[in-house]
Amino acid sequence: MALVRDRVRKSAAGIFTASMADIVFLLIVFFVLTYKVEVDRTKMQLPDTWIRVKVPEKAAVVSIAPPTEGSIIRVSTGEEMSLPVSTDEEVVTFASTLVAQDPNKEFIIKADEDVPYERVDAVLDALKQSKVKYIFLLSDQKTVDQ
């Protein structure tokens, strides 16, 4: 009598990847919708406030780095990456040029909370000299425990 061996069906081990494509596409859609290039990447601790209004997109940015990094001032048109400036007059020239193109151009001041007010005052003065009309002081959300 011939011996009949039971053939054991071997199933290949694998990870179920069918839903991966859905997850990946959901992530891509999320990133496409929320995508925004940050024109100034200076790391700083923004002051915290309760009142926070949305700043307009494409507003020009003047950032003041923390004192530990020399309170360096950088400017950006809102569309290009920020560039450092060495004098307050350069801020006036930069802002005046933008205001000449668009008299209602909004400006954002992004400054570290520990920056001496003297530096912020100089930037404010430069913007006032340039006839800037709308200024936003960037802040983080204040919370109850602060």
Partner: protein, 151 residues
């Protein structure tokens, strides 16, 4: 005799899709930023508008000192006491502007804390401050020189 045609299954090759998708995700993760996009706003007076000359006694003078202490109309006051004081003044004259001056040696955070407090007046004391003026040091010195006061 009937010849059976071998049918070729048509399908889209999706083997590389995962690679492309992950590359896209990595790109978006690195270049996108969840930046702070909110803050305190203020509008500067239009130079074409007639700006009324404000006397010091016609305004509420808030001065931020180094360390975050504040003086209102020359008297030291706690931050919590600022809005009740201002509200009392505005009840007599709702058009009274508030002038926010900051010592150059104070920090930006000190100034923002006071400005934020003033902006909360409608919620905290039910009064809207119509004008909050933030003069720069140069503007203050100009006024002092006009009045013949040494800075």
């Amino acid at each position: 005799m009937k010849i059976k045609k071998k049918e070729i299954e048509s399908e889209i090759f999706t083997g590389s899709m995962a690679d492309i998708s992950f590359l896209l995700i990595i790109y978006f993760m690195i270049t996108s930023a969840f930046s702070a996009t909110r803050g305190l706003d203020f509008a500067l007076p239009d130079e074409n508008q007639d700006t009324p000359e404000i006397k010091q006694e016609d305004s509420v003078d808030v001065y931020v000192m180094p360390g975050g202490q504040i003086q209102v109309d020359g008297k030291p006051i706690a931050l919590e006491g600022l809005l009740p004081y201002v509200a009392d003044k505005l009840k007599q004259n709702p058009d009274k502007p508030v002038i926010l001056r900051t010592d150059p040696q104070a920090t930006y955070g000190d100034m923002i804390a006071v400005f934020d407090e003033l902006r909360q007046a409608p919620d905290k004391v039910g009064i809207e401050i119509k004008t909050i003026s933030i003069p720069t040091q140069r503007e203050i010195e100009n006024i002092w020189s006009m009045l013949g006061i040494a800075g």
